[in-house]
């Protein structure tokens, strides 16, 4: 998919003029996240962010569009046509709901949008990591019990759509 600068401007205007508070578009080549108003970057809804965020990462209060380029830290994902699920907050990543339980997902699992693929714990508070799009788990980038930063890629999916 190709997006010209004027298309992007039109998209921002369209979101601005609508009741939509959050717009996320993930394609194999790039991601766009637009947030506006009070809903802008609430931390309750983990969405696939643009890999390790650039200094111009999208957020409130003004509508801002993410640069299509993925950061250098994870160059492979876009090239391989994969979609990343990133950490919604800093904390300890868990692959299963409790010790000894089956992991939420494993390599080859089919994931639907909104499914929990892991947990992140900060000061005894657990936050679910949800898939922003459906696909098949192709890479698990962190292990159970690893510390992860906000925005760190955790899982890569091969989109099914």
């Amino acid at each position: 998919m190709h997006l010209a600068e004027k298309d992007l401007a039109a998209l921002i205007r369209a979101v601005q003029d609508s009741d939509v508070t959050r717009f996320d578009l993930v394609t194999p080549d790039f991601e766009i996240h637009i947030a506006r108003g009070d809903d802008a970057d609430t931390d309750v809804a983990p969405l696939p962010q643009s890999s390790t965020a650039s200094p111009e990462a999208p957020a409130a209060p003004a509508p801002v569009a993410a640069a299509p380029a993925l950061a250098a830290a994870v160059p492979a994902a876009a090239a391989e046509g994969l979609v990343e699920i990133t950490a919604p907050m800093i904390g300890i990543f868990y692959t299963a709901p409790e010790p000894g339980a089956d992991p939420f997902v494993a390599l080859g699992s089919t994931v639907e949008a909104g499914m929990t693929v892991g947990l992140v714990e900060a000061m005894k508070l657990f936050t679910a990591v949800e898939a922003g799009a459906g696909g098949i788990v192709e890479q698990m980038l962190v292990s159970n019990g690893d510390y992860v930063e906000f925005g760190q890629p955790l899982v890569r999916l091969r989109p099914t759509a």
Binding site: D41, Q49, S54, A57, P61, A122, E149
Partner: protein, 457 residues
């Protein structure tokens, strides 16, 4: 969970802040010889502070509410980074008792006063009580007043003008200046309506209105046992809508007896509560009456700490780290020498010609002034993108010299040399303030700048 009785450790510090103060704390960590890890939002990942530290950890998205203001994210970053201490800088979580409590719970050292002191000074009521108990002068005022008639009687005693203030609440809402008895009834009714609308509470009281006040504050440090030193005072009377723009040390043109009394009050208050970090006690000085009263305590490092460092030769942030590590105060009061005069201008990414609208954006050219007696604290550099999410301070330009006039001249030269291209800044405006005859003659006060005709290019 570790015991609260464990000796404090400060060997690797998580800096939970951004901008120039994050960089300032990184430098102090280097001075003291401890590690520095910076917690950043995604907007600051590539900042100078993040690059200067041993490590940077991303704690959240640009919105401060989801990053710099999140206690759990900050504490977790300290654990992830192998830190044993957290420095909160100023703003954000610097005065958060919740962060100080969380540090104790997680066995981390909070680089600042204890949660008890943050709670004490976080409330206007308990802070005033502590000041009263320590014998520090408070603004002349009344208890809660039942109605306009009671207010008129009280105002007759205080002397006009008076200020009607809500008992609960702040930020200027429900406040009215009354300059004569016949205005009281209408003003009282309006203030009551505003107080109910803003705070859901109709309680009002009166304070004496100080028409021309100077903001004078005292830099202190305490070791937690009741020993408190002061490092002289600062004058921060040049304010635009209660935001400080120009600060200097020491406070100029104060009668020696008044200056001594203000410094002694600050020490007495902090000693009485066994203050255990660096901090600032703020006062208003009534220029016309020649007296002073307590405003508040800022239990943290302040933006304008640099001018005190320039006239004392003391690194206050390094001192703060050492006190947090349980070290004693390294000097006696007599050993703290105040020499010369230092002035600071805050340069903000704001456009004075557009009502001081924030002007974030890319800095395309960056040439800060240098030279003898000039200090610039800034996190900016050529190519830096000033993000739109945070406060607009981009640089603190300071000058020190043997006396105030020489410091003004030096600072004017520094500001004239300062080039920041690509965004609008307040550089020229603050330069003009220094040239004002009232500023040279110390006739300025906290409302002075708001009354000056706004300069137009």
């Amino acid at each position: 969970m570790s015991s609260t009785a464990a000796p404090p450790r400060v060997s690797r510090v998580l800096i939970a802040n951004r901008g120039e103060i994050a960089l300032r704390v990184v430098r102090a960590c280097r001075t003291v010889g401890v590690g520095a890890v910076v917690a950043t939002s995604t907007a600051d990942l590539d900042s100078l502070a993040a690059r200067s530290a041993d490590r940077a950890l991303c704690i959240g998205p640009p919105s401060a509410a989801a990053s710099y203001l999140k206690v759990a994210a900050v504490v977790t970053a300290a654990q992830m980074g192998g830190c044993d201490a957290i420095h909160p800088g100023y703003g954000f979580l610097a005065e958060s008792p919740e962060l100080a409590d969380a540090c104790v719970e997680e066995g981390l050292t909070f680089v600042g006063p204890s949660a008890r002191l943050l709670r004490l000074f976080g409330s206007k009521v308990s802070a005033r009580e502590a000041a009263r108990a320590a014998g520090v002068p408070l603004s002349a005022g009344t208890e809660e007043l039942a109605d306009a008639q009671a207010a008129r009687a009280a105002a007759d005693e205080l002397g006009y003008p008076v200020l009607i203030k809500p008992v609960r609440g702040g930020g200027g809402k429900g406040m009215r200046v009354v300059s004569a008895a016949e205005e009281m009834e209408a003003a009282f009714a309006l203030a009551r309506q505003e107080a109910i609308a803003a705070f859901g509470d109709s309680a009002l009281y009166l304070e004496r209105w100080v028409a021309r006040a100077r903001h004078v504050e005292v830099q202190v440090a305490g070791d937690g046992t009741g020993t408190v030193l002061h490092f002289g005072d600062r004058d921060c009377s040049v304010q635009r809508r209660q935001q400080k723009l120009v600060e200097e040390a020491p406070a100029p043109a104060l009668p020696a007896a008044l200056q001594d009394a203000i410094r002694e009050s600050a020490v007495a208050l902090c000693s009485s509560v066994r203050y255990n970090s660096v901090g600032t006690v703020e006062f208003l000085v009534d220029v016309d009456r020649g007296d002073y009263f307590f405003l508040e305590v800022n239990p943290r490092i302040q933006v304008e700490h640099g001018v005190t460092e320039l006239v004392t030769g003391i690194d206050l942030v390094a001192l703060q780290l050492r006190l947090a590590a349980g070290e004693p105060l390294p000097w006696t009061q007599d050993e703290v020498r105040i020499e010369g005069a230092a002035i600071e201008c805050r340069v903000n990414a704001e456009d004075p010609d557009l009502g001081f609208r924030p002007s974030p954006g890319r800095i395309t050219g960056w040439h800060p002034p240098t030279g003898a007696g000039v200090r610039v604290d800034s996190h900016c550099e050529q190519g830096y993108l000033v993000p739109p999410f945070y406060d607009s301070l981009i640089a603190k330009v300071m000058a020190v010299a043997a006396d105030r006039e020489a410091a003004i001249t030096r600072l004017e030269g520094a500001l004239a040399e300062f080039r920041c291209e690509g965004i609008a800044t307040t550089t020229t405006l603050v330069g003009r303030i220094l040239a004002e005859p009232d500023f040279h003659a110390v006739r300025h006060h906290t409302k002075w700048l708001d009354t000056l005709p706004q300069p137009k290019e």
